[in-house]
Each structure stands twice: as C-alpha cells, then as structure tokens.
C-alpha cells in the first residue's frame, strides 16, 4: 500500500479505536494490527500528530504501581472520523473510475487478441 495513503488511514484507524474506548500505546498497536499492520515506532509519530492537531488528549493513570499514558479522543478527533467517512463515497467514485479504465484496457487487449 502507498505509504502516504497508509499514514492517513492509520490515523483514522487509531481515532476509530479510541472512539470505542480510551486506550494505551501497546494495546492500540495490537488492536489496529488486526486490521492494518502497524509497529510501535510507526504509531508514536501518529499519536504525536494527532495530539498536536488536538484530535486526542493524553492522561497518566496509575496501573500496577506505575504510570501509564492513556489516549482519549476529542471532539476534533470525532469530527475527523466523520470527515473521513463522508469523503469515502468520493474515494469509491475515484476507485470505480480507475477500475473502469482498467476494464476498458482489458477489453482492448481481448479485441486485439481476437482479431
């Protein structure tokens, strides 16, 4: 998959996960990896970008005698998910356009073979 495309998708995936429940770094990596492969080093800059764009907030909570950072989605984060979902139809249109071009090419090749 294209890196830039993957980056954009990963950000929304992380937000979608946090929309269900607050989570922490390691769990986010594991949960998102069930859909799209992500490593901890890839997740870190994503979380930073999302925090800088106010899509999530970070709180520290005590867990088994140590502090663990939990990430929580904000209103801007939820808006970002809605924007992505609303733009998806447009992506499908572009997908069909590209696929239609592919079908036209394949039809052309078959015609040449037959003739």
């Amino acid at each position: 998959m294209d890196i830039q495309l993957k980056k954009g998708l990963l950000e929304v995936c992380v937000l979608a996960l946090l929309k269900r429940e607050d989570s922490y770094g390691y769990k986010i990596t594991k949960d998102v990896s069930s859909c799209i492969m992500i490593s901890e080093s890839t997740l870190y800059p994503i979380l930073r970008r999302l925090e800088n764009s106010h899509c999530l907030t970070i709180t520290s909570k005590e867990h088994n005698g140590r502090l663990r950072k939990y990430y929580k989605i904000t209103k801007e984060g939820k808006n970002r998910i809605d924007e992505f979902l609303s733009e998806w139809q447009q992506v499908l249109v572009i997908y069909d356009f590209i696929k239609g071009g592919e079908n036209h090419d394949n039809a052309g090749i078959s015609k040449n073979i037959n003739t």
């Binding site: 770094g25 990596t29 901890e40 080093s41 870190y44 930073r48 663990r68 950072k69």
Partner: protein
Amino acid sequence: MTTQEFLRILTREIDVLPAFEAQRAITYYREIIEDRIEEGMSEAEAVGSMEDISVIAQQILEDHKGLLEKQQKNEKSQKQHNKWRNALIFLTSPLWLSVFIAVVLLVFSIYIFIWSILISLYICVVAFGLAAFVAVSLCLYDMLPNASLALVELGLSMICIGVLLFGFYGIRIGQRYLFSLQRRWKDNVMRRWRNRRIWQ
C-alpha cells in the same frame, strides 16, 4: 539486553532533540516494554521483540525533522546575533567604558562613605567610653575633698556610659543591616549572572 540498556542507547541516539521531546519518546517506549512484560514476556524477550534501536531512533528524528531544522536555524541566527552584538560592544567601548568606570567608582565611593560614617560613629562611641572612664576616675579622686564635684563627675560618667552602650548597640544594628543589604545585592547579581549564562 535490559530495558535500562535499551532506553539508554535510545536516549543517546536521540540526544539532539530538546530534552522534553526526548523524554516523551523514552517514556513511550518504556511503557511499551513494560506492557509486554506484563503480558507474560520476560524482560529480555520484551526488549528483543522491539524493533532495532537505530530504526526507532530514525523514526523519531524523522518525525521531529521540522523541529530540529528550526532549532538549528535559531542557533545559527543566535550565533550571528552574538557576533554583531560583540562587534557593537567593542566599537562603542570608548563611550560606555568610561561611563561604566565612572558609575562603578561613584558606587564604590558611596559605599566607602557609608562605612566611614560607621567607623566615625564607632570612634565617637569609644571616645565617650574613654570619657566615662576619665569621669569615673575623677569622681573617685574628688569624692572626699569635693563631694558635689564628684557627684557631677559621676553624673557625666553615667551619661557617657549610656551613650557608649546605646551608641554601640545602635551602630551594631546599623552595621548588620548594611551587611545584609550587601549580601542580598551580591546574591541578586550572582543569580542574574547565572541565569544569563543558562539562557545563553
């Protein structure tokens, strides 16, 4: 490799970053390793299953590229600014240096003046002490031949002793106040100088 070793090497790899950003990254990876250990891995397994430190460091530095470039730009402009400032200071030194010396000498002379007043007061008080001693001696000498004169001399010696005691303690209070002012001024100057060096 232990968690501490892993994090120490990672810290070294990203030490070009501002301290806050580096600490944030280290805390993130520490938590990842601790969460893996909590899941049942041993420390060695948890650290071993992490990506290569150089890959992680590269990812972090890449992410902070804009910040590092801005920092380098600021350092460069600060160096340039310092060069111009130093050149300006050197070129205008005939002007400000003489004024500076004059101000320093003025402050110093005021300081000497205040201390000389204190010393003079001490000398006065000591003089009153000597006068009290002389008056008491005369009082003892004149007690039998001239009792009324001895009484006057005794009174005068009491006055001189009073001036000696009250004067001495009053000057001591003034001296202590002066010392504390001096110490506060010195601490203030040292603190400002240290802060200036830190911010540079």
